[in-house]
Symmetry: C2
Subunit: 419 residues, 2 copies
């Protein structure tokens, strides 16, 4: 079976000018990969007809599937649709189903429908219209010279619905695809190069249809094995065996043997143990709470956070002693320990995390430069605090502090288990 | 003056497989745009030598500058560097400065340096080495047939440092560039198509060197005017005049006449008024706090948040009546109003925001389906609450609730000013 190659063309000046980050391509890449289609290229072009036509021409040479996103919104459709008409030698017609759907959407929200909105129902006369249940711009499926072209709106939520409910099922039906499978694990506390050094022999011994990837993020490294073959029956077993070897090799750093975030790993750990958690956040400013509460079901183990940005909140809501703040400052071992114990009581939980630090760009001093962070984790019996120093920008300092704090809590609980 | 075109080539399987979202391209696009370089293409290829070579060949045809990112990490450098050597007809040599820099970094962090790390100091012998002050993989600058090629590591923090401190200054020195200027404003509460309809005449009357862009995000729409000309002296005045017209046309929906987020607009408003803010978050789970505290200087106006995920926290820390929770439920007008008044007292602030809702995917009921949200804003005199219904996934429901709540607070304060 020959492999099926795909390319994504994203359309929009906003992507080139850097006003928008392209999250669509990652989602499409993942979705195609899961069904065994290899994304070979991703190309972004501006809202320029010739550029769109060139990209279509170019990408059609080496690919079986071309997915086009963007350029279909109510203020942008004057370029992409005519370009598609020219490329596929078709003309625009009104699709009555789409027009009815758009009309219904505006009626439901009690909004006036203007001509610009009605134009969303115009489609090239030789495409298959893909119903967009989440918005007004329909998807379009074309076939030309053995290449499939799929045009989708750029709004992430709408594009995702179309990929899941229209594109993937149709591709599965139409194509004969190889079996692809992944196994991912998450490590923390060790750098990419040391892990890679430990895995040199393992990686060299992998058969050619199984690949190892290193995916570092937030001071952690994900390791992913991908297998791709025509024999689905043996792939799972084979991949499982290599994954067991891999787990053994990186065991000391492994946080989870699945593709989950550290927040998800913590939630699962707490659910298993039947324990509850609260956080007291100064420098992370609610970001740890956000990481946890982004995950459905977190309310079962997470009582909440006291984001004590002002010192008065540290005193009044967390019971930090005014003398502690005066003597040691808000960014100190003493304060962060009292914050952890304070929120443990205030939220009546089994465990707590507290953070306090200087995230920058201002607020540093010679003794406590920007990037100085204290983190504490606690249960009723004990508190453990560590000091860190990050050298990045504000956003990244916040992210790294949050992820490090969650990992410290995990290690704190593991220590207890060993005792 | 002819225009200078650039292309970005990002290298890495992780980008094609969708494990990593490409945030680098947006940053590079913005940085180039600011100095008048038009990013014409963005291409992503996998870790495959031939693909890299093809992309270099292709992109060099229509561009003056090619920026390559990724493929230089300690576990990935076996493909990109040899590809660059082949393309530029060079061989790898050890750069002593880079080797010293890498050695110093490992010494500073007390980490063992292994061969894999030392290899970062190997560079093609015909490139200009760009010092990476933030990491071990250096940048590389090549010139070939009147095209400039710049290879940068893929780690965002390192890439950014190199762009700012090495690439942009050198490009400015080397090239004669047109003047480019932007004016951006933020609107809330109105859809893209209605705004576009109101701006049809304005947009049609713009001269060809000034362009209007619509940039929707989180239920808001940014409008951006971009001017590009060789005559820098008149551009600012001309752009200023069109921007004043634009502001007049969208005045009723305008949140800010700068390119800032709604959280930044709120912080500036509060600073001007000398007022303070606190939040009580249930369904947004700390995300509003995160949006505010992500902005440097927010501590001047923001006291903190009580993320009351558990009902016990709503009762004990925010003073919500147990009878209210029992009778009306946590997601109700009565609860969210008490939460707002409660945090106003607990944090001793002038204003407060409170949120409570069902973010999904579970937890809905026939009377309160997933996506039902109550938001309240309050000062000491009054409380205003609204009910919303979002139909998206958990993450997007959280984001939209947070942005809507910040805009509700803004309108609440504007109402006071009118009284």
């Amino acid at each position: 079976m020959r492999s099926i190659n795909a390319s994504i063309i994203t359309i929009g000046d906003e992507l080139l000018i850097g006003q928008t980050i392209d999250t669509n391509s990652a989602f499409i890449g993942q979705s195609l990969n899961k069904i065994g289609i290899w994304l070979k290229r991703r190309v972004a072009v501006g809202d320029v007809k010739d550029e769109i036509l060139n990209a279509l021409q170019e990408q059609s040479k080496n690919n079986d599937i071309i997915i086009i996103t963007g350029g279909l919104g109510p203020t942008a459709d004057d370029i992409t649709k005519p370009a598609l008409c020219e490329y596929f030698n078709s003309s625009l017609i009104v699709d009555e189903n789409v027009l009815q759907h758009v009309t219904n959407i505006f009626a439901r929200f009690n909004r006036p429908m203007i001509e610009r909105n009605a134009k969303q129902a115009e489609v090239p006369d030789n495409c298959l219209v893909l119903h967009n249940e989440r918005g007004t711009a329909p998807g379009m499926w074309f076939e030309k010279d053995d290449v499939i072209y799929i045009s989708l709106p750029g709004v992430p939520h709408e594009m995702k619905g179309l990929i899941e409910h229209q594109v993937i099922p149709r591709l599965l039906q139409k194509l004969e695809l190889p079996a692809v499978s992944h196994r991912t694990l998450l490590t923390a506390g060790q750098g990419e190069s040391v892990i890679a050094d430990k895995l040199t022999t393992f990686e060299a011994a992998l058969p050619s249809h199984i690949k190892l990837a290193y995916l570092p993020a937030y001071g952690m490294v994900r390791l992913r094995l991908t297998g791709r073959t025509n024999d689905a029956s043996t792939l799972e077993i084979e991949l499982g065996e290599y994954f067991d070897q891999l787990k053994g090799l990186v065991n000391e750093w492994m946080v989870a043997d699945k593709d989950i975030s550290i927040a998800e790993a913590i939630i699962q750990l707490f659910k298993t143990k039947g324990k509850t958690l609260a956080t007291a956040e100064s420098c992370t400013g609610g970001y740890i709470a956000h990481l946890i509460t982004s995950i459905a079901g977190s309310s079962a183990i997470y009582n909440g956070s006291i984001v004590s940005y002002a010192n008065s909140a540290k005193e009044n809501l967390l019971g930090v002693e005014p003398s502690t703040l005066q003597e040691f400052g808000a960014v100190s071992e003493e304060t962060v320990q009292q914050m952890a114990q304070g929120v443990l009581k205030a939220m009546s939980t089994d465990y707590a995390i507290a953070t306090s630090g200087i995230m920058g760009p201002d607020g540093g001093s010679p003794e406590k430069p920007v990037g100085t962070v204290w983190i504490a984790v606690a249960n009723k019996e004990r508190t453990k605090a560590i000091k860190l120093h990050f050298r990045f920008d504000r956003q990244r300092n916040i992210e790294l502090t949050a992820h490090t704090a969650l990992n410290l809590l995990r290690l704190f609980i593991l220590e207890e288990e060993k005792e």
